[in-house]
């Protein structure tokens, strides 16, 4: 938009975003080819000795049922990402898009809506997701994760839209007789061309954490479709004696979230 030269901080931020997207791309490739890349099918037991540490034959070791942890981690990553994608879309629409449009509704509607969603945003997203699954069923875990991440995205988009409404371009537009709906359309186009990708990456980071934590608590994935959270939960009993059963799924999950955070341009410690 502006021709001003970038500062070194902005250049580093842009570089990190590229690293994040490249990382997410690699994860997408690994997920789509997980059945080919993995040496064993998902949940295939007795592939090797029980609780074997990482070795040349089994690079991530084996678990208590003799499953190859490298194959299981790939399948678990695939299950996590496949669950996170619809949840990300739900967060984008129910949170970011809805929040942006809601801010332009008449004040009598917009403010109660903002207050109501603000109540949900003042609760930990994980507890909201647990509640949503309790009220529905585990089959709706992606929807529950997406909806529970939506209040924060809604509040952020709502506040940004209200700031834009007070921006000079909006003042000029109103003064020259441009209608509210035309202005909303213009702002929506700019909002989404400017922030769609970073909002999507941010939502992906948020829902990946929620989904895996739900599975860890026993509210998410169900065997044999194990995701990374469920794999880590299963490793809890043997963690002290067989660290590799939990460490590699946790590493894969952290890398997924890290790349999503970098792609979103989040600062260190910033909430996804």
């Amino acid at each position: 938009m502006s021709g001003a030269p970038r500062t070194s901080g902005q250049s580093l931020q842009a570089l990190l975003q590229i690293v994040g997207w490249v990382g997410l791309g690699l994860i997408a490739v690994a997920v789509s080819l997980s059945d080919f890349l993995a040496s064993a099918p998902a949940d295939a037991t007795a592939i090797g000795p029980l609780l074997m540490p990482p070795s040349a034959d089994f690079r991530f070791g084996t678990d208590i049922l003799g499953r190859d942890m490298l194959s299981e981690t790939l399948h678990g990553l695939s299950t996590t990402v496949r669950g996170a994608l619809p949840a990300t879309i739900v967060t984008l629409f129910a949170g970011a898009l809805f929040g942006f449009v809601a801010a332009r509704l008449p004040r009598a509607l917009a403010l109660p809506l903002r207050t109501l969603i603000g109540v949900a945003a003042s609760l930990p997203a994980l507890l909201l997701a647990v509640l949503a699954i309790g009220l529905s069923s585990r089959d709706w875990v992606s929807l529950a994760a997406g909806l529970s991440a939506a209040p924060f995205a809604f509040a952020r988009a709502f506040d940004r839209a209200q700031m834009q409404e007070r921006a000079p371009h909006a003042e000029y537009a109103r003064a020259t007789g441009i209608s509210a709906s035309t202005l909303l359309r213009r702002d929506l186009v700019y909002e989404f061309t400017d922030t769609l990708l970073s909002s999507a990456a941010r939502a992906l980071a948020a829902v990946s954490i929620i989904l895996s934590t739900l599975s860890f608590l026993g509210f998410g994935a169900v065997p044999p479709h194990r995701d990374l959270g469920l794999m880590i939960a299963a490793s809890k009993t043997y963690l002290l004696h067989a660290w590799w059963t939990g460490a590699f799924p946790a590493l894969a999950l952290t890398v997924l979230i890290l790349f999503a955070r970098l792609a979103a341009g989040l600062h260190e410690g910033e909430r996804a």
């Binding site: 109540v119 009220l135 954490i209 934590t213 946790a250 979230i257 260190e268």
Partner: protein
């Protein structure tokens, strides 16, 4: 200031009202008559709201015990965990936020802080438990969902060890939010024109930092107190599960699994109220400290 406090109090009142409505809707699900249709649910919602006004939150459908008594037994443990975690968050977050707030130190620390920020809380909790058990040879609680009845003032070394792990887990999650708030406030303060003016007036850089800079940074932290509390409550929910800590968040998860809505509703209400109250107190306390141009 008074006008600002009144406006914030209005927002808090609206938020609390919304939280009561939401909690009453959940409590209404415990009423067997609510399943008969929309009107029956609305009537149950009204009854639940009326009960809330009289401090009657109903009874657990599983144990038959009073919901308020259950909350009273479990919430102090979570609050203790959150408060002690808040202490750790300040202890870790303030040095990280101040020392690594800008310049080369920030660039050096950024990758580590990013990785810590990307680590899910349950993974961090398990990693801490693993390190405590293998390096320090501490006993680690086993199994899931076992009520240990921990107290917050440990009576012996074993209780201290059992308490430290969840407190550290919660504290580290809060530290990430605290250091971010501090760093942002520091970055905003660094670019303010009054710094140059004060230097021209002859004030030493140290004096400017102590008298003018620190209140700005403190205001930044206080203004984000709601976010820090939310991070602490989120972490407490997971840490209680990981470390078999019989707090309110652990009770919430189990009650949802058992569809014990009479227990779920007051826990939800108390968490939302505490977060909103913390945000209110923080913003009001930050207002007089913040520079006029930074005041909302």
């Amino acid at each position: 200031m008074l006008r600002f406090a009144m406006r914030e109090a209005g927002k808090l009142g609206l938020g609390l009202g919304g939280a009561v409505l939401l909690a009453a809707a959940i409590a209404a699900l415990a009423d067997p008559r609510a399943a008969a249709g929309v009107w029956a649910f609305l009537a149950a919602w009204g009854r639940a709201l009326n009960g809330f006004l009289h401090m009657d939150f109903g009874r657990s459908t599983m144990t038959g015990s009073d919901a308020l008594a259950e909350l009273g037994a479990h919430l102090p443990l979570t609050l203790g965990l959150v408060l002690e975690g808040f202490g750790v968050a300040l202890l870790v977050g303030i040095p990280v936020g101040v020392l690594f707030g800008s310049g080369p130190a920030r660039r050096a620390a950024a990758p580590l802080v990013q990785v810590v920020s990307a680590t899910p809380i349950f993974c961090a909790g398990l990693a801490l438990a693993y390190l405590a058990a293998t390096v320090l040879h501490w006993p680690v609680p086993r199994g899931t969902g076992v009520a240990t009845g921990l107290v917050l003032a440990p009576r012996n070394g074993a209780e201290l060890q059992a308490l430290l792990l969840p407190v550290l887990t919660v504290g580290l999650a809060g530290a990430a939010a605290a250091q971010l708030a501090l760093r942002r406030a520091g970055a905003e303060g660094a670019g303010q024109p009054w710094r140059v003016q004060l230097r021209r007036m002859g004030l030493a850089p140290f004096e400017i930092e102590i008298v003018y800079g620190v209140p700005q940074i403190l205001a930044g932290l206080l203004a984000n107190l709601g976010d820090v509390m939310l991070a602490l409550f989120s972490a407490a929910a997971v840490a209680e599960w990981v470390f078999n800590y019989a707090g309110a968040a652990d009770l919430f998860v189990k009650s949802v699994a058992l569809h014990d809505w009479a227990i779920v509703a007051p826990i939800l209400l108390s968490f939302a109220s505490l977060t909103m109250a913390a945000a209110f107190v923080g913003r009001c306390a930050a207002y007089p400290l913040a520079a006029p141009e930074a005041q909302p």
